[in-house]
Amino acid sequence: MNKLLLCVALGLFLNTAGAQNRFFTKDAKINFNSSTSLEDIVAESNQATTFIDIDKNEVAFSVLTTSFKFRRALMEEHFNENYIESSKFPKAKFSGKIVTTIDWKSEKLVIAEVKGQLTIHGVTKDVTFMAQITPGKGKIIANAEIKVTPEDFAIDIPSVVRDKIAKEVTIKIDAVYTPYQP
């Protein structure tokens, strides 16, 4: 009987250990910049949800496009109404794999290659980008930069304002992950 109890205890231990391989945060920062000399276009959301699975080296992001805040209220309105079409496509998503092998116990900064699918405006594209990942005790700090173009995601920009919006948009991500307890 003692052995049976041991088994149950072992099983429970394995279960919690299983949960420890996932890290997450609900308040990751994502900002993007598509400024030109004519117009400053910068927006930030601090409500992105993201997971890292350190066993499978997987990473996933999700952010509501309406959570992006702009300096100009009108720009925010146009972003949601005319460009991203938030009512039709409320979320932007990424899911992919960390290609570079990371020693998750090392507590050292690693420049890692991440490959996966980015979905914006209902269009999914394969992207590859470099991320700085610092594993730590009970947390993981990560930041990354992705460059995309509005055309890649079928975002239509009228010719009157084409010169005001950068051809290439830089997306920056800042996340501090903590262990995920389901």
Binding site: G11, L12, N15, A19, F24, D53, L64, H78, N82, V160
Partner: protein, 301 residues
């Protein structure tokens, strides 16, 4: 098989069973599913119910957000039925210049001046309820508008004697719903008090109700229609026949500007005028071509 061996076998089977049992549900749930689980239902507020702060002549529930300033130039040509001598109304023009500023996201104040009876005006628009869906559900947007107009024209001796007789006060409740991306409708119950009216037969208090809407023809162009029903119990006995204002317009939005081009039987561009004193009618081509130009400036850091 000895008992200890049996025990060992059972134990190892249990261990394997436990590992399989505990790890399977965790593994089968991929990160995408976890993301959906952790992204809680949020409240989304309907934005851009209308493209501009006016449907055509009257206010819409749209207002300037905090530290946003709107400069608005409105222009109405003369009556179409004045014929070739007056170049079908284009020889004449009535202008309104207005500023609106968002003190907070829910309070906008504004001032304006019109060549129509040399009227100066000031208003405050308060957003009371916002249309939302998700965690919080609210089917309509409700705003309150209070406005004061002062007639500057010096042709009425009573007005020259007493400043307050130049004033009228407008109260409106704006109830709007954005039904979908294209269609928004607004009901606008209105109460107008005029301190001085043209004749004894005119009532100082005027009740009216506006109905207006927009339908988006494309992402940046919409068709707007606005009609105000004005209640006048003694309309037939009044020396001047007043009509209910009906306006049909097109909104064209280009970034920071919104252009509104319209035809309307109202010549005035403020509530006291277009609701209270529209004396031209569509049926005898008493219509005016007009436009509004709105430009928004931001004072946020």
């Amino acid at each position: 098989m000895t008992n200890t061996m049996k025990d060992k076998l059972i134990t190892s089977l249990l261990v394997i069973g436990m590992i399989v049992f505990y790890s399977i549900p965790a593994r089968s749930q991929d990160l995408d599913a976890l993301l959906d689980k952790e992204t809680k239902p949020q409240t989304t507020y309907a934005a851009a119910t209308f493209k501009s702060t006016r449907i055509v002549n009257g206010h819409s529930v749209q207002q300037m957000k905090k530290k946003q300033l709107e400069f608005r130039v409105s222009h109405r040509f003369g009556d179409l039925n004045t014929g070739s001598y007056n170049f079908w109304g284009l020889d004449q023009g009535t202008i309104h210049l207005g500023l609106g500023y968002g003190i907070t996201d829910w309070l906008e104040v504004g001032i304006g001046r019109s060549t129509y009876e040399k009227t100066a005006d000031a208003f405050a628009k308060v957003s009371i309820l916002r249309q939302s869906s998700g965690e919080k559900n609210m089917p309509v947007h409700i705003s309150y508008l209070a406005s004061t107009e002062v007639i500057g024209l010096n042709t009425n001796p009573a007005m020259q004697q007493n400043f307050t007789s130049r004033m009228s006060f407008i109260q409106q409740i704006l109830i709007a719903r954005k039904f979908n991306e294209s269609l928004s409708l607004q009901l606008t119950p209105t109460f107008i008090h005029r301190n001085l009216v043209p004749t004894e037969l005119d009532k100082n208090d005027l009740f009216a109700c506006g109905i207006g809407g927009r339908y988006k023809l494309s992402k940046r162009i919409s068709l707007n229609i606005e009609y105000y029903y004005v209640y006048r119990a003694n309309a037939s006995s009044l020396p001047v026949t007043y009509y209910n204002p009906l306006s049909i317009g097109i909104d064209i939005e280009t970034g920071g500007h919104v252009f509104q081009i319209m035809v309307t039987n109202a010549q005035a561009m403020r509530e006291g005028g277009f609701i209270g004193k529209t004396a031209a009618s569509w049926s005898d081509a008493g219509i005016h071509l007009g436009f509004n130009i709105s430009r928004v400036f931001t004072f946020n850091k």
